[in-house]
């Protein structure tokens, strides 16, 4: 088992720096993403975790150019795909990037596929548009891709419409479409949330298998820490539009350095026979993103909040190599008696 920090300097496929995204709404300006920075390494999986509304989907959608502008607006930041910034242009050339160098799969496969087109044609369309395959060759390749995603009788299935597929099979078809052009990066937005656990296990196994095969990077968006534990190499924890902690998957689970990460972990069902452990909810709800609080966004719900946290946004502390936490508790003078929280070793 290679520890992530040793390889954390691997070349990044995608490098996002200080990304800010806003939306104009009738209620005012929603600051959906406030300063997200992360990178995704070739052949590795980066998980972005957080509750609904924390900005995890908006982050990747803005990278993909899927945000309607207006009302959306990328006010600041860069996203370098192999060194080329893909967010600063007015219109993203979808043909070049989306579906070609970055593939994407969504939570709800039923509403993401075209109900009036045969499955095989939908996959073939990608190859026809991006790779110039002839219609016949593209369809043949679509059948191979369906077989690759473990759909039985692929030839027959390719000629069927989405309504005759189950939820798990639709997700496989979406994956087949997303990997058709062998992208460097696959973005999976809650790919297994709508599925039963046995089907979820199949889909997650399939994603890993395809990742090894194509040395593909994956960004996995999820609210489920158990899925993160199964899939991720690196993890970014988001709260109210900001990244509050990031590090390797072991950093996040065994050396949690932000109270919010601890809170998320405590809310999970535990494997212990003691029913008292686990399932400790985080009381309250996230702040509204119209008026983000002036200090730490987690202040109102944080059991370890100090007076300083209310007014002053916490800086980023590197608590161990490549493991960062935005929390004032890591300031040298702050109290270090927080149960379960990891602190940098004192020199």
């Amino acid at each position: 088992m290679s520890m992530a920090p040793s390889s954390a300097n691997d070349p990044a496929v995608l490098e996002v720096t200080d990304l800010h995204v806003e939306f104009d709404t009738y209620g005012g300006i929603v600051k959906a993403v406030r300063g997200a920075s992360f990178n995704v390494r070739r052949g590795k999986t980066l998980a972005i975790v957080g509750e609904s509304g924390c900005g995890k989907s908006v982050t990747v959608q803005s990278v993909m150019g899927l945000i309607p502008m207006p009302p959306g607006r990328i006010t600041k930041g860069t996203a370098l795909l192999d060194g080329v910034d893909i967010v600063r242009r007015k219109v993203i050339d979808g043909k070049d990037i989306r579906g070609n160098r970055i593939g994407m799969i969504f939570q709800d496969p039923m509403s993401s596929l075209n109900p009036t087109m045969r499955i095989g044609d939908q996959i073939a369309e990608t190859l026809h548009v991006h790779r110039g395959y002839s219609k016949a060759d593209a369809f043949k390749r679509a059948v191979e891709l369906l077989a690759l995603t473990n759909i039985r009788e692929a030839e027959k299935r390719a000629k069927q419409y989405p309504f005759s597929f189950s939820g798990g099979m639709l997700q496989r078809a979406m994956i087949a479409m997303a990997i058709a052009c062998e992208p460097d990066l696959l973005i999976a937005d809650e790919p297994s949330t709508a599925l039963d656990v046995t089907i979820q296990a199949q889909i997650l196994d399939l994603l890993k298998e395809l990742q090894e095969r194509n040395n593909m990077a994956i960004i996995l968006i999820t609210h489920d820490l158990a899925v993160v534990a199964r899939m991720a190499d690196d993890v970014v924890v988001m709260y109210a539009g900001e990244i509050v902690e990031k590090g390797s998957v072991d950093d996040i689970f065994y050396r949690s350095a932000h109270p919010y990460t601890l809170g998320l972990r405590a809310a999970m069902p535990s494997e212990s026979r003691h029913v008292e452990s686990g399932l400790q909810p985080i009381e309250g709800s996230p702040p509204d993103t119209f008026n983000p609080p002036p200090g730490c966004s987690y202040f109102a719900r944080c059991p370890n909040a100090m007076r300083l946290c209310e007014r002053n946004p916490p800086p980023r502390f590197e608590v161990s190599p490549h493991h960062y936490s935005n929390c004032w508790l890591h300031e040298p003078g702050a109290p270090k008696d927080v149960d379960g929280l990891y602190f940098a070793e004192q020199p």
Partner: protein, 327 residues
């Protein structure tokens, strides 16, 4: 034995087209004791929601009987029957978006049951609604708001208040947490646990996630293609599953622990749950089962107490010998 509600050979078939019958619920007998919580787990299409709804008369049953407090519930519900039983039996629905009327205020939604019962004044109803809003962790002032002004977790709290304001004895919770974030799921599970203790509720808790269900349930029943395949104390079923299907279900569930996940061998089961159309004889799990034997395809195993090594368990599987005796 003092079962509060008991189904005897409850069956619900749906006819679709000519000679096509969906065996959504087949011959399910389940007794829920007073103040007990039974978790009913299964994948989509296993018939768990249909069982819950048929139990309460929201679907007309095909065969079987349901007894509540010793009294047989009607085969066909008339509107007056629903009004009568609604005071003792309630349901919390899965989708907090579609189960609340968007044109009613939250106060009207929660107070509707009391209003229809007709024995309370408007002011008393408003007070009761306010008390329940606070009890489920919302605020009095939320009464005049509409459902769209609330988040998913808050709406689910409204659904809980609407069901429990009637002070029912028995509540069917149909996947009350599936649509919610993990941290909010914990809030709702906690809330239900507290209310169960303070109100002495009996519940059927339907879910597809075993790890969460374990926290609320006294016993867990696992359903597959319309039949219960395993039934036992919650921790026993979770930590020592006996039926091959339950074993796969639990092993498929990811754990929030990267080290154990890295050392996990893949247990992904091949295939998907098949449609319960025109079921023949034999075990319904036979075509996906890793331990399938000759007998499984011919003979349907019954859900009876069997010798599983350790304490006996009610499990519908030929791998285990039946224990003779009264059952």
């Amino acid at each position: 034995m003092s079962a509060l509600i008991e189904s005897k050979a409850l069956t619900k078939h749906f006819k679709i087209g000519r000679n096509q019958i969906v065996h959504a619920v087949d011959d399910v007998s389940l007794a829920i004791e007073d103040k007990e919580i039974v978790g009913l787990v299964g994948e989509s299409g296993s018939g768990k929601s249909t069982f819950g709804k048929t139990l309460l008369g929201l679907h007309r049953k095909t065969a079987g009987e349901v007894y509540f407090e010793g009294e047989q519930l009607p085969d066909i519900y008339k509107p007056a029957d629903f009004q009568r039983y609604a005071q003792r039996i309630q349901m919390i629905f899965q989708d907090p978006y579609s189960s609340l009327n968007p044109r009613m205020t939250v106060g009207e939604i929660i107070g509707e049951g009391l209003r229809l019962r007709g024995d309370s004044e408007g002011a008393a109803i408003r007070e009761a609604v306010a008390v329940w809003l606070e009890r489920v962790g919302l605020e009095r002032g939320h009464m005049s708001r509409y459902p769209h002004e609330f988040s998913g977790g808050q709406r689910q709290r409204v659904g809980v208040a609407r069901a429990l304001i009637m002070q029912p004895k028995f509540v069917v919770c149909d996947e009350p947490i599936s649509a919610l974030d993990v941290s909010v799921q914990a809030q709702i599970v906690r809330l239900l646990g507290e209310l169960k203790d303070s109100l002495g509720l009996t519940m059927l808790f339907i879910a597809h996630d075993l790890s969460m269900v374990r926290y609320v349930s006294d016993r867990i029943a696992v359903m597959y293609m319309g039949a219960v395949v395993e039934l036992g104390p919650a921790d026993d079923v979770y930590f020592e599953p006996k039926h091959p299907y339950t074993q796969i279900l639990i092993a498929s569930n990811p754990r929030p622990d990267p080290r154990s996940e890295r050392n996990r061998k893949s247990v992904a089961i091949t295939g998907e749950i098949s449609s319960p159309l025109n079921i023949g004889s034999g075990c319904r799990f036979a075509n996906r089962c890793p331990h399938v034997m000759e007998v499984c395809r011919a003979d349907t195993p019954g859900l009876i107490l069997r010798d599983c090594g350790g304490s006996p368990r009610e499990v519908a599987c030929h791998l285990y010998e039946p224990i003779a005796g009264p059952n």
